[in-house]
Structure formats: C-alpha cells, structure tokens
C-alpha cells in the first residue's frame, strides 16, 4: 500500500518535471523576438503564414500555445519540419533517429561498464599500489582528451590509415550484425572513454569505503577468497552511485551525443536537435527536446527501481518515509 503511494508520488514528481521542462522550452520559443511563422516559411505569402500561425497556435498567448502543442504531443503529433519543398513529420525523423541513439547508448553503456567495473574493483582492491596508480593515471590522461578528439583520432588511424572501418554513416541491424557494428564501433568508443573514467572513479571510491567495513572482515573470517569477497560481498553495496550515474548518463547519451553523431554521421536524436536548431525548426526542436526529457525521466525511474534491488534498505526506507 505504502509502496504504491510512494511510486505514485514519484511519478507525480516526474510528471511535474516534464511539464516544467516542456513549458520552459515553449516559453523560450515565444520569447524569440521574431515572427516564428516568417522563420518557418521564409518564402511564403502572408495568407499561408496566417494559416500556419493559427495551425500552430502562434496567435494565442504563451499558455494557449503550450496547451495546443501539448495536446498534439500527447497524441503523437510532434509537429512538422518546414522547408522550401514542403514539410516532413518530426515523428518520422525521430522514428529513424531513435533506434540509432538507443543502440548507440546501449553499446556505449555496455562497453563503459564492462571496462569500468573490473578497473574500479581492481583499483579499489589495490588502492595506493602500483596497479591503482597506473589505472588512475591512464584514466586521467584519457579523460583530458575531449571525445571529439578521440573520434577524430580514430577516424584518422582506424578509418583512413588502416581503412578497417567506415568513417561515416549508419547501417541498421537488419543489414547484418557485422555491417551494423562496423559503423557503431568508433562512435561507441569515442563516447565510452569519458564514461569509463567517471564510472571507474565512482566505483573505486565507494568500494574503498566499503572495504573498510566490518562485514568485509567478517566475510574474510569465514574463509572466503579475496576474489569472492570483492565480487560477491563488496561490489553490490558499492555500486549504487555508479548505477545512478550510469542511468542518468543514459538520458544524456540519447539527446546529448550531438558532436559524435555529427562527426560519424550516425544521425541520432542528438543530431536531430542540432539540425532543428541550425535550421531554425523551432517546433521540431521543442518536440525533440520534449522526447529527450521523457527519456531522462524514464531513466530516473529506472534508477529508483534498480537502487531498490541493489540495496534493499532503500526499498524499506521509502516505505517508512
């Protein structure tokens, strides 16, 4: 009972966040001191622009406009992209871009976590010793290279000099797994490097703290091996921060991989935002940002749910709170 009310409350909070974010973007749009209809239809007649204004609600106040946009949005009508030859649906663009971004995000997370977790465990276990220092220093060096620079280095060496991988474009899974991965490897590596550093540091710090706990000595006194203690007894209670950070960066990867998506022409959601801004497609921008916000909120919920599994105490704290 109490648990249900906790989740209802949490959903309510997230809904409010969504409304505030989308309304904020909407308001910003209306604050631009130009006529939006002129920007969207630069070479149209005044009549056509009048029609567009009423169609999109530009003639209403900011709240009226927002409500109209929201009504369309929840029904799946994300608006249109306007160009000289006609219009395209934003939802069609997102339908193409979303799987690219989602896959990019999933691969990046898998790669980053599968490298960061062993590194974090090892450097916490060997804290202050040579292995730890080597790991920290290498990660520090790597993290000082921005991800677009890594992308460019990969393109130059792996893409151009060695010609192992294509440097531009995207192939869906339907074209074959290897074909698909050929296009994904370099963007995924570029996006992972920064995350690996962050994740390793978070896990290392939490694990070092956990390794000082009595329950670790207790586990040792049962005659368990160090390996078992690290992986079975210490990793899980130390991974709440890591998992939170990972889940939140999922939202960031969906809409925020703008640079990498542009460099490799992966054309995911990040690129859609970039294109909407560059092309002054304000309605498209508003809807795309709203979709990204939806993902953020969704991954926030994932954090809440999964932290209850990682540490059962949080589950009951919720009930008691």
């Amino acid at each position: 009972m109490l648990r249900i009310s906790f989740w209802l409350q949490r959903l309510g909070q997230l809904l409010v966040v969504l409304l505030l974010v989308t309304f904020g973007v909407s308001l910003l749009l209306r604050l631009i001191p130009v006529d939006l209809a002129t920007i969207l239809l630069p070479v149209a007649s005044e009549e056509e622009r009048v029609i567009l204004r009423t169609e999109l609600g530009f003639d209403k106040g900011p709240i009226g406009y927002y409500l109209q946009w929201l009504g369309n949005f929840v029904q799946g009508d994300f608006g249109k992209i306007y160009f000289s030859g006609g219009t395209e649906n934003v939802s069609d663009h997102l339908k193409a871009a979303m799987p690219r971004s989602l896959l990019l995000m999933v691969y990046t997370q898998i790669l980053a976590l599968s490298i960061a977790i062993p590194l974090g465990v090892l450097s916490a276990y060997r804290a202050g010793r040579r292995a730890d220092k080597i790991i920290s220093n290498s990660l520090f060096a790597l993290s000082s290279i921005p991800n677009f620079a890594i992308a460019l280095l990969l393109i130059i060496f792996i893409g151009v000099k060695l010609a192992w991988l294509p440097t531009l474009g995207y192939a869906p899974l339907a074209d074959g797994v290897w074909e698909h991965f050929k296009y994904m490897i370099m963007p995924v590596i570029s996006l992972s490097v920064g995350l690996i550093t962050t994740y390793t540091r978070l896990l290392r710090a939490d694990m070092i703290a956990a390794l000082r706990e009595d329950y670790v000595t207790m586990a040792a006194s049962k005659g368990l091996s160090d390996r078992r203690i690290l992986w079975r007894h210490v990793l899980r209670p130390s991974s709440v921060t890591l998992m939170t950070s990972a889940a939140l960066s999922m939202g960031g990867l969906i809409g925020g991989a703008i640079v990498i998506e542009s460099i490799f022409a992966t054309y995911g959601v990040g690129f859609e935002v970039f294109a909407a801004i560059a092309g002054r497609q304000y309605v498209a921008m508003q809807s795309t940002v709203a979709v990204i916000a939806l993902f953020y909120v969704f991954f926030n919920l994932v954090v809440d749910i999964s932290s209850g599994f990682i540490d059962p105490r949080t589950r009951d704290r919720r009930v008691n709170a």
Binding site: D214, A219, G223, R313
Partner: protein, 325 residues
C-alpha cells in the same frame, strides 16, 4: 596443558598521519585447549586489534606486524594468506563487536550463513540451506525460515548477534573469538547471549577468547583472564585467582569502577579517572602511571617488566597490590 593458540611477542603498529600508532605491544598469550580466556580492557586498549591480528584478519597497507602466532600446530605467521584462510571456519572463527556493521547489508541472512558451509565444507546448496536453518534454530532464533529470507536491517540487535554466532559456529570451530559479543546489546539480551555462548561452548567443545570491557562478564564465563592496557597485557591469571588476589592497580580500578553504560546512547562512560595514554606517543614509564593511585617516581621513569608469581600469576607493575612496600 597444551595450548591451542599461542601468541608470542606480538606487536601491531599502524602508520597514521600522526605517526606510528602502537596498538599492540609485545603481547604473549596462550589459549589452553578447551578453555575460555577473557580479555578485558578499556575501549582503545587494543583488544580487537589483537584478536584480529591473531587470526590474521588485519587488512591494509598501513599495518606493521611482528611476533609469532601458532594455532593448533600451525605457525600462522609463517603461512600464506591462502593457507591461513583454510583454517577459518573449522579452525578459528570470530564473532564481531557490532552485529549491525558486521553483516552484509545487502545480502539475505540465508545466503550469508550458507556461504561458509558451501565453500568450507563443500555442502550442496540444498544441504547448506537446510543446515543453516538448523543453525539458526540452534542459536534460538524463532521462525528461522523467515529469518533466512530477511536482510540484516530487518532484525533486532539481539537477533543479528544470534545470526552472527550462528555464522561463526557454522563449521564447528575449535577456537571462537568473541569480540565484545554483548556490548551493543541491552542488558537482558546480554545475559541471554552469554548463556547461549556458554552452552554452545559446552556442546561443541570450543575454546573461546571472550573480549569484553566488563570484568563482570569475565567472572562467570572464563577460566583465565588477561587484562589489557594501552596495547599490553598487564595482568594474567586464572579467573578465580584474579578476583581473589588482584595484583595490578589497573585491574583493581577497573573492578571498582562498576561499568556504567549509557543505555540511551549506547556509549560507555569513562569509568576510571583520566584517559588512555596517547597511542602514538607512549611515555617511558608505566602506561598507567598518570592515572594510578599507587604511582611512585619509578613508575614514571621505568617501564615495568612482566613479573610471574610462583603460581603462574602474571602482572606488570613495580608496586603490585598486596606486596609489602
């Protein structure tokens, strides 16, 4: 009498930012097979560090150890970590001071209890779980089946301590270190846990090292007592002998100061005037001198050696009680 555990000249130092901290200084102690030995001393006197060091459980790169530990014919201090580990569970086991922090917060009781059985005794999962339930019943936990599925935070302090005892005795150890098994519990539960330990010791024929800050606990539960002060053993005698004929002024002060426990906060109050000497900077003389009613000039200048009465009673004092001055 053969001794099950014999610790010789053990010293433990921690490197700290404030210098080297001498937690244990030249401790010699024998635990005779089948006996229960109490270790008494104020908070910070080095009881926990000594027990953990004896078992080889002190972790960390800032620890410096010296001395030898022989357990049941094995010289632990000459063995690898892996070899020592093989003695855990069925050789030595430990009950930890605080049952709240010594159980893994995110794992169910059943898995924490059965783990040792499977790994150390090679039981199948089903057997280990069945045996775990029996062990919980053995330590008098009502509805053991439900407790198996619980997380530590869902149990009361007394229940958690019982679980910890069950884990410690799971593989039938020869020697059980009980590090203040009752300090974190309230008085009625304390008595129950001590009773349980007495019975288990009888049934399982375990030797025990019972650490406590309370001489009252020592009285009914131990055959020998070692009194620790500032990292040293300052008096050692059979329990009845110690209470009948105390030599060390510190032990007397400890006895006279009825342990007061602040039940609301659970913290102990200072029971003897003054505090332990700074562990990173021990003076030259007797460690107890600044607080000792009998201290003379010599006490401040020369460190007393351990003296042995003909009956085996050991003490570390220039002017022991009951000696003509």
């Amino acid at each position: 009498m053969s001794s099950l555990l014999s610790v010789k000249d053990m010293s433990i130092n921690f490197d700290t930012p404030r210098g080297s901290l001498e937690a244990v200084r030249g401790v010699d102690i024998e635990i005779p097979a089948g006996m229960s030995v109490g270790i008494v001393g104020e908070s910070g006197s080095g009881k926990t560090v000594m027990c953990r060091a004896a078992m080889g459980l002190l972790q960390g790169s800032n620890v410096k150890r010296s001395g030898t530990v022989v357990f049941d014919g094995h010289e632990l201090t000459a063995m690898t970590k892996e070899q020592v580990r093989d003695l855990f569970g069925s050789g030595m086991a430990m009950i930890f001071q605080d049952p709240m922090t010594a159980l893994n917060p995110v794992r169910r009781i059943g898995s924490q209890l059965s783990e040792g059985l499977r790994l150390r005794l090679g039981m199948s999962k089903a057997d280990a779980l069945a045996r775990s339930k029996e062990l919980l019943e053995l330590v008098r936990i009502p509805n053991a089946a439900a407790v198996m599925k619980s997380f530590p935070y869902q149990l009361s302090g007394g229940m958690r301590q019982r679980v910890m005892i069950a884990i410690a005795i799971a593989c039938n150890p020869k020697l059980l270190f009980a590090d203040e098994p009752t300090t974190a519990l309230d008085v009625t539960v304390q008595a129950q846990i001590l009773q349980l330990l007495r019975e288990l010791r009888e049934d399982l024929k375990m030797s025990m090292v019972l650490v406590t800050h309370d001489l009252g606990v020592v009285a009914g539960n131990t055959d020998y007592v070692a009194v620790m002060y500032a990292g040293e053993i300052v008096e050692y005698a059979p329990t009845t002998k110690l209470f009948a004929d105390m030599r060390m002024p510190y032990t007397k002060a400890l006895l006279e100061s009825i342990p007061k426990i602040d039940h609301k906060s659970g913290t102990r109050l200072d029971v003897i005037e003054g505090r332990l000497p700074n562990p990173t900077d021990r003076g030259a003389g007797c460690s107890f001198a600044p607080r000792c009613k009998f201290a003379k000039e010599k006490c401040h200048e020369e460190h007393p050696e351990l003296k042995r009465d003909p009956d085996g009673h050991l003490y570390r004092c220039w002017f022991p009680i009951g000696e003509a001055l």
